[in-house]
Subunit: 202 residues, 2 copies
């Protein structure tokens, strides 16, 4: 269920920006390609926003799902690994709109330290732990190679960080209080390759 | 099940490069944090590579899973959208090692056209369809904004492309013969935010 919430949030955001004030579960079903009964079941879990025969208030539902997703709170973040992927994430995601804000970046490359990426200052890796504590950082975005990711995760585990958004190609071991969400790009590409092979054979 | 195969492949690749020749389902269970019976069930689906009391041949199992994932074939790719995220993907993923190779990139920005990204030439967007046909391109990697992604997907649907690896924040509609795998970074970040909120409340 939580897996489907960001998708609801995305579609409702689109509807909202198109000026759609109310939407029925049937209509949402059609555009999202999910059964209407699945939609009613999902959304009733979250307090029955809808009214029979009247549909959902798009804006209200959007805000409520946003709260469930914790998007009504400010999340301060750091980037660990200020290479190309890290820079792309800082630049691309336009995160501030949703309450996510990069406060600093950390790298071992002396050529990057002291510079900025989209107004985010790059510091030495050794400054990371202190920075997290002093600035109440919630989320560390990890865009370093695998071996470094394992090492840095050990350091992060000693800090008050709440979550790691992991782009390294490895499963991280962390204390239970730290949340991890991994984006395994290579796994995703392998799924695509698997589906191509299956389709070629049919 | 297919969802778990890339992870098996990743762990077996690590074991292989550490020089581990054989591994038991118990040991694999421990390092992967999956039950041994789940592992036996998954891997027996693929032809019973293992032998009771003797374990799996790491290298053989790695290669067989690679074949199932279609990784024994060469996949030629193009990048659509040569901005920061696209550049990061071309640079970062070290794709050639696994039979994935970028043959060209396409962008509407005249400042990028004619240049190269990690030796991949950037062409005009209008040249895309012809390029796909002439070069037998299998996979289009889509790193453009949402509105452009929808438009370009319509163009791609008229070409012999086999798959789209989608980084745009939208669900793409394609003919059934085209495979789509999406990396929705914002959805992933929202899951993290949700888990932080839940953990804060406990």
């Amino acid at each position: 269920m939580i897996g489907r919430l960001p998708r609801y949030y995305r579609y409702l955001g689109d509807l909202k920006s198109e000026g759609v004030e109310r939407i029925s579960s049937q209509e949402l079903s059609r555009i999202m390609n999910v059964t209407a009964s699945q939609i009613r079941q999902d959304l009733n879990n979250f307090g029955g926003f809808g009214q029979q025969g009247y549909g959902y208030n798009t804006s209200y539902l959007y805000d409520e799902i946003g709260k469930i997703l914790g998007l009504n709170k400010q999340h301060d973040m750091i980037l660990i690994g200020a290479g190309k992927l890290g820079q792309a994430i800082v630049n691309y995601m336009n995160l501030k709109n949703r309450g996510f804000s990069f406060k600093g970046a950390f790298d071992i490359d002396p050529a990057l330290v002291g510079k900025s990426i989209a107004n985010v200052p790059v510091f030495k890796m050794e400054q990371m732990s202190d920075f997290i504590t002093k600035n109440n950082i919630d989320i560390a975005v990890l865009t370093v190679p695998k071996a470094a990711a394992i090492e840095i995760t050990q350091v992060l585990s000693e800090t008050p960080i709440k979550a790691i958004w992991n782009f390294a190609h490895v499963d991280l071991k962390v204390p239970e209080r730290i949340q991890v969400e991994s984006v395994h790009l290579q796994d995703s590409l392998m799924k695509l390759s698997y589906n191509i092979r299956r389709n070629d054979e049919n």
